[in-house]
C-alpha cells in the first residue's frame, strides 16, 4: 500500500505585493500553502532577500561587509554595490541616524539620503525608519513624498504612528506600507484593521510581525508567524493575509555571539563566522515559519539564503 498523501489545501492565499518598478520589481506573497509546502499546492513567489545599508555608513560594520563595499564612499555607491550583491533582490535603507537619542540627523538630511539612494539603484527599495516613533512619523511621510513613483516599501508604521505613515505612504503617494507589531497575532491583526480603515488598500501592506535573534525570545517569533500563517490560510482571515517581511541583520549582528572578539570568547572561533551563522540560521528559521522576505547584510548570508530558497522552491 503506497503512502496516502493528504495535501493541506486551503481556499485562501497570502496576498501578493509588488515593490519597485520595471524589470527589477519584485513580488512577494501569493502562497496558498504553508512555507515551502510545494507538495500541497501553490507556494506563490519565492521569498526574497533584501540587503540592508544604513545612512550611518560602514564604520561599524563587520569586516566582511566593509570588505565587500571597499571603495564605495558615497551612499549612492554603497547602494549600487548592495543592489549588485549576488543573491540580492532588493535594497533596504535604514535611516538609523534619525534617532533623537543617537545622531539625531534632520528629516531634510535623511530625505536627501533616501533620494540619493533611490536615484542610484533600479532595484526595489525598502526604507526603514530609526525606530523612534515620533521621528519616524515625521520622517517616513517625507520620504514617501520624495520617492514618488518608485513604489517603495516604507517600514516601521506602528500602532503609535501608523496614521501619519499610512496616510502618506499608502494614500497620498501610492507607496507600500510596512506594518510593524510586537510578536503577537492580535496586535498584527489590529494594526492591519486600523490601517485599512484609514483607507490604505490591504494589497499595499506588508507586515513585520516582530523579530528577534534565535535564542533571544525567538520562541514568540516562531509562534506568532505560525499562527498568523495558519489564520490567514485556514480561517481565510483577510486581515492576516499580508505577506511578511522580517528584518534579520539589525537583530542578529548586535548579540554577543556575533560581536564578542576571539580574546573575549576563547574557543569560539572567528567572530565573523559566528555572525554569519547567527544571521543565516535566524533567516532560515524565519523563512520556514512564514517570512516572505528577509533583510540581511553580510554577502555570505545573502548568497547562502538565496541559494537555500532556490533549493527549497
Amino acid at each position: 500500500m503506497p503512502f496516502n498523501r493528504k495535501p493541506q489545501k486551503f481556499n485562501a492565499s497570502i496576498k501578493e505585493v509588488e515593490i519597485g518598478c520595471g524589470d527589477k520589481a519584485v513580488k512577494i506573497g501569493g502562497a496558498n500553502v504553508f512555507p515551502f509546502y510545494s507538495f500541497d499546492g501553490t507556494v506563490g513567489n519565492a521569498p526574497k532577500v533584501g540587503v540592508e545599508i544604513s545612512d550611518m555608513g560602514l564604520e561599524h560594520e563587520p569586516e566582511g561587509v566593509k570588505a565587500y563595499y571597499a571603495g564605495a564612499t558615497t551612499m549612492a555607491e554603497i547602494a549600487k554595490k548592495a543592489a549588485e550583491m549576488p543573491g540580492a533582490d532588493f535594497v533596504v535603507l535604514r535611516l538609523e541616524g534619525g534617532d533623537p537619542n543617537g545622531a539625531n540627523k534632520s528629516v531634510e538630511e535623511l530625505v536627501a539620503v533616501a533620494k540619493e539612494v533611490a536615484d542610484a539603484v533600479d532595484a526595489p527599495l525598502v526604507v526603514e525608519g530609526c525606530k523612534n516613533v515620533e521621528k519616524d512619523g515625521e520622517l517616513l511621510p517625507k520620504v514617501a513624498e520624495a520617492l514618488q513613483g518608485k513604489n517603495v516599501l516604507l517600514m516601521s508604521a506602528k500602532e503609535e504612528n501608523y496614521k501619519a505613515i499610512g496616510a502618506a505612504a499608502g494614500l497620498a503617494y501610492n507607496q507600500k506600507v510596512g506594518a510593524e507589531s510586537a510578536v503577537d497575532i492580535n496586535l498584527a491583526k489590529q494594526l492591519n484593521v486600523v490601517m485599512t480603515q484609514l483607507g490604505v488598500s490591504a494589497d499595499s501592506v506588508v507586515m513585520n510581525v516582530g523579530t528577534a535573534t534565535v535564542g533571544y525570545g525567538y520562541d514568540y517569533v516562531i509562534s506568532t508567524m505560525d499562527r498568523v500563517r495558519a489564520a490567514a490560510l485556514s480561517q481565510d482571515d483577510k486581515m492576516l493575509q499580508m505577506p511578511i517581511i522580517t528584518p534579520v541583520a539589525s537583530e542578529t549582528w548586535a548579540v554577543k555571539e556575533s560581536t564578542a572578539s576571539e580574546e573575549d570568547a576563547p574557543g569560539w572561533g572567528p567572530v565573523e563566522e559566528r555572525g554569519v551563522s547567527m544571521e543565516v540560521q535566524t533567516a532560515a528559521a524565519d523563512l520556514v515559519s512564514g517570512s516572505d522576505a528577509v533583510i540581511l547584510k553580510h554577502p555570505q548570508s545573502v548568497a547562502t539564503i538565496s541559494k537555500m530558497i532556490k533549493e527549497l522552491m
Binding site: 493528504k6 499562527r227 533549493e311 527549497l312
Partner: protein, 452 residues
Amino acid sequence: MALTGIQIFKMTPKKNCKECGSPTCMAFSMKVAQGAVDISACPYMSEDALAQLSEATAPPMKTIKIGTGDNEYSLGGETVLYRHEKTFVSKTRYAAAVCSCMDDATVDAKLAAVSAVDYERIGERMFTELVYVNFAKDTDASKYVEIVKKAAATGRTLVLGCKCPETAKAALEVCKDGKPVLNGADASNYEEMSKIAAEAGVVLGVSGASLDELYDTVAALEKLGNKNLVLDVTMGTVKDTFEAAVAVRRAAIKDGDRTFGYPSIVNLVPLADGDKAMEEALAAAFTMKYGSIVVVSEMDYAMALPLYGLRQNLFTDPQKPMKVAPGIYPLNGADENSICLTTVDFALTYFLVSGELERSGVPCNLLISDAGGLSVLTAWAAGKLSSTSVAKFIAEQVEDKIKSRKLIIPGKVAVLKGDIEAKLPGWEVIVAPLEAVQLVKFLKDMQANGQL
C-alpha cells in the same frame, strides 16, 4: 483511531464499584476518552479490552530511546505540529559525522572536535550528543569497525550509517552496549538488517529512495514485528528532504497514519555538500521542521551557538515564562559597598547579564526587580519596568542592605535615568551600554577611571 466514551464503556465490567475514583463506569469511560484518566485505574478490565484500548489510545508518534545512562535520549513522542498548540517534548539531537571515506588523521581530528563544543545556556548543557559513523561504499569494512571503536570511545551515542549487513554486524559487536542506532535498512536489505538490529537490541534506521518506498519498507518491518525504528528522511535534494520531513511528521500527527509515527533523521552532509553556511541554514530549517536527529559535518561554535539557542526557544513551554526570583544577587565577592546594577527577572536576561558581570570580575550587586518575567524592552513597554518600579524596589528592599548609592541601568531604558534619580534622592544613576556583552569593557573602564 481514538475511541469514544461509549465504545470504552462497552468494554468496562459495568460494576459501578467506584474503585477507579469515578462514580460510575460510564463517567470513568468519558474521562478515559478525554485522556483525563488512564484506563489502568480500573482494576477489572479484561486483557482483551486493555489490548484493544492501548492500541487505540497509543500516541500517534512513538517515543524511541537511544543510548544508555547519561547518554540516553528520547526521540519523537510529539503530539502536535506547532509549538503554540502544546509543548514539543523531544529535543532535536545533533550528530557530528565521520566516514570510512576519510583518512585516519581527518577522522581523529573530527572525533577530537566532538568534545570542543560544550557549554551551558540558561541551565541547559549544550554539546554534540551524537556521532554519526558513515560506511561509504567500496571502503574497507575493518577500517570502518576501527572508526566505530574510536567513535564509541568519545562516550557519545552513535548512529551507524551502514547498509552492509556483515559490516553492520561487526560494527555492532564493538558498540552495541552503548545502544547506538543502526541506520541501514532500506527496501533491499530490511529483513536482514532488522534481524541484526533486533539481535543487538538497537534501534533500526530506515531509508527509502522515495516517500512511497520508505512507507512500504516501514510497513514491511512492522509486519516482521520491528517497531523500534527511526526514519531517515534524507532524499536526494533539499526540496525532497523537506517534503519527506514534513510529510512523515504530519501523516503521523495530523492524519493518524501510524506507519510514519516514528522520529526522523536528516543528514545534512550530502545535502550541504561542504558549504558550511548552507549547512548552518539547513540545520536551523530542519530543527524547525521536524528533524529528530540532524547530522552535520562538524559541530563548531559558529554552528552551535545559534542552533542550540534556536532549539532552546523551540522546545520551551509556551505557557511558562522563565523567571528568576527578584532580589539582590552579589557577584564576584561583592559586599554592601559594591556598585549596583539592575535588570529584569526574565531568566534569559538574567543569565546573559550575570554571565557578563562574572566575566568582568568586578564585584557588584545585581538587583532584580519583579518585571513579570519579561525582557527589558518588553517589560518597559508593558509598564512593568518603570522608574516607579525600580525606585520602589530599591527603597523597600535594597537601601537598608546596601551602602553604595550608584546604580547602573540597562542602556535600552536610558530614558528612565532622570525619573529614577528624582525618585531616589542620594542615588547616582548611570546608563550602561545597550548589550550585556559590552558590560565587561564598560565596568573595566569605570574601574580604571576610579568610578567604582
